[in-house]
């Protein structure tokens, strides 16, 4: 059981920035941004390619974040002026990113096991220190994200998701907000990709498949469990973050649990997909009842 919990904790940790990004797009901007499937790999690929070229892992990490933000900005650009539907814009960018990621990486898989990364020195010292350094970086991202949610920009992003037309009539520049929102959520997905690549020891072209769906399912599940108990709206931002963490942790708990029951990996996505569908259906039913 402890091994199951530890596996759940470590796997969830690397996907927390992704969950924050999906929280931003799905809960605040109210858009299903499929770009995340591509920007997750983009972050991993850019980081892996740069560090294997001998560039500092810190610079490589910042470059990965910037590339993620650019991918998100491209999705926002496609949507601008109502030209392309947000869902379609995300799918289109993700489709384009497959080639971009392949071009950046040069091959489908880059091994990072013998390359210095942000955490390699800490992990070489001890496993505990390694995980602490990962937790520290993710903690910083969480704090920065929470500060954003509590700021005026966070409020504007929430208002954008609620009613972009009204926000525009109140004199706000909704184009800037769209670029900011989609840029930030893909920056976080790229951060998650870069961190995951360092933890698992490689960047792979297929590592982002289904990430958006996993993230949305996890967030819906987490919100389904947490938000009914939150009565005060000033606690909303914090409880949404907590819901994202709990959702991701539960997803990995179930995934690891299934693996321990020796489920044939061929059926793993089928089972997880059915579970996600059940979560989404029950959450939608409850929402319509309330």
């Amino acid at each position: 059981m402890i091994a199951l919990l530890l596996a759940t904790l470590t796997q969830s940790l690397t996907l927390i920035p992704l969950a924050l990004g999906i929280n931003l797009s799905y809960t605040l901007l109210r858009a299903t941004d499929m770009t995340i499937d591509g920007s997750f790999v983009l972050g991993a690929g850019v980081f892996a390619q740069l560090v294997t070229m001998g560039i500092s892992p810190y610079i490589a990490f910042l470059a990965a974040l910037a590339c993620g933000a650019i991918a998100g900005a491209f999705t926002a650009f496609l949507q601008n002026g109502g030209k392309v539907d947000p869902l379609l814009a995300g799918i289109l960018t993700s489709f384009i990113l497959y080639s971009v990621n392949m071009a950046i990486m040069g091959r489908p898989n880059i091994n990072l096991l013998s390359t210095p990364t942000l955490f390699s020195a800490a992990f070489a010292h001890s496993l505990t220190l390694g995980w602490l350094s990962v937790a520290l970086l993710i903690g910083l991202l969480v704090v920065a994200f929470y500060a954003l949610l509590q700021s005026r920009l966070g409020l504007c992003l929430r208002a954008f998701g609620d009613n972009a037309m009204l926000l525009s009539r109140q004199g706000y520049n909704v184009t800037t907000l769209r670029f900011t929102g989609f840029g930030l959520n893909n920056l976080l997905a790229a951060a998650s990709g870069a961190i995951t690549a360092q933890i698992i020891g490689y960047a792979d072209i297929g590592m982002g498949v289904g990430m958006t769906l996993i993230g949305i399912g996890a967030i819906v599940l987490g919100q389904h469990l947490i938000l009914p108990f939150v009565k005060k709206h000033y606690l909303r931002a914090g409880s949404e973050l907590l819901a994202a963490f709990i959702g991701i942790a539960l997803y990995f708990f179930i995934l690891n649990g299934l693996l321990r029951f020796n489920i044939n990996p061929i059926y793993l996505k089928l089972l997880l997909g059915v579970l996600l569908a059940l979560f989404l259906r029950t959450a939608t039913q409850k929402a319509s009842l309330t």
Binding site: R158, L166, R169, Y234
Partner: protein
């Protein structure tokens, strides 16, 4: 005196409609006027207001606001000059934000109002609002939502307040109360208002002037002095 607002030969067409929505409209509004726009459904009342707040663009003619073509104003400048309230709460407020968050979005950056002063301010519009600052707007009643929308609309009084049948989705008692409140506020604060309604009693009671539209054309203009001699039946006969 130079009018605050002038419609000059305004024409509005839609490609799918044979008849223009508005045709050759000429009308001017003085500062502080409360102009009631009357007309049957489809006469162009709401479209006239949508031209002002930027949701529609004219095909011909000019709208002059304070000696400037309204098209030359930036979205931000226009938002500061013109505020619209419609019958739909989602056109006026962010339903999934709290009352306080809705207030924060229109609050000027350099103005550090406290929650207490907001509660006092909202109390004068609807006492229930003062105790619900942390409640989602979607959970308020229709009357509370419209009272909140009015309160926020006049927090920084706009040059022109557009009221597009803003009481029509409310029950008669609440609608009457909100209409009286609206009239009091716009007169006290000298706000220029354009109000569309189907209620001829409201038009007579609260409007300074009446503009009647029929099939996109100006059908009748009733000035302050003429209005005093009219009954609701006479107005109905003249405008519909």
């Amino acid at each position: 005196m130079t009018p605050l607002l002038q419609f000059e030969n305004i024409t509005l067409r839609h490609p799918s409609l044979e008849r223009p929505i508005l045709l050759d409209i000429n009308y001017s509004v003085q500062k502080g006027d409360c102009v009631v726009v009357l007309g049957a459904n489809g006469s162009g009342k709401s479209s006239l207001l949508k031209l002002l707040d930027g949701r529609y663009r004219t095909n011909a003619g000019k709208i002059i606001l304070k000696n400037k073509n309204i098209l030359s104003l930036s979205a931000r400048a226009r938002a500061h000059c013109i505020h619209t309230l419609t019958q739909n709460a989602q056109d006026n407020l962010f339903l999934n934000l709290t009352i306080f968050e809705n207030y924060q979005l229109i609050q000027k950056r350099n103005k550090a109002d406290t929650i207490d002063s907001l509660a006092d301010y909202l109390y004068s519009f609807n006492p229930n609002l003062a105790t619900k600052l942390d409640v989602l707007v979607a959970r308020l009643s229709g009357g509370e939502q419209q009272a909140l929308a009015l309160a926020l609309a006049v927090l920084y009084p706009p040059e022109i307040l557009l009221l597009d049948e803003h009481t029509s989705a409310l029950d008669p008692k609440t609608a009457e109360h909100l209409m009286a409140l609206t009239a009091r506020i716009i007169h006290e604060r000298h706000i220029t208002a354009l109000l569309t309604t189907h209620n001829v009693n409201h038009a007579l009671a609260y409007g300074d002037r009446i503009l009647a539209l029929k099939e996109g054309l100006v059908h009748d203009c009733i000035e302050r002095n003429d209005k005093q001699n009219l009954t609701a039946e006479m107005l109905m006969a003249r405008c519909y």
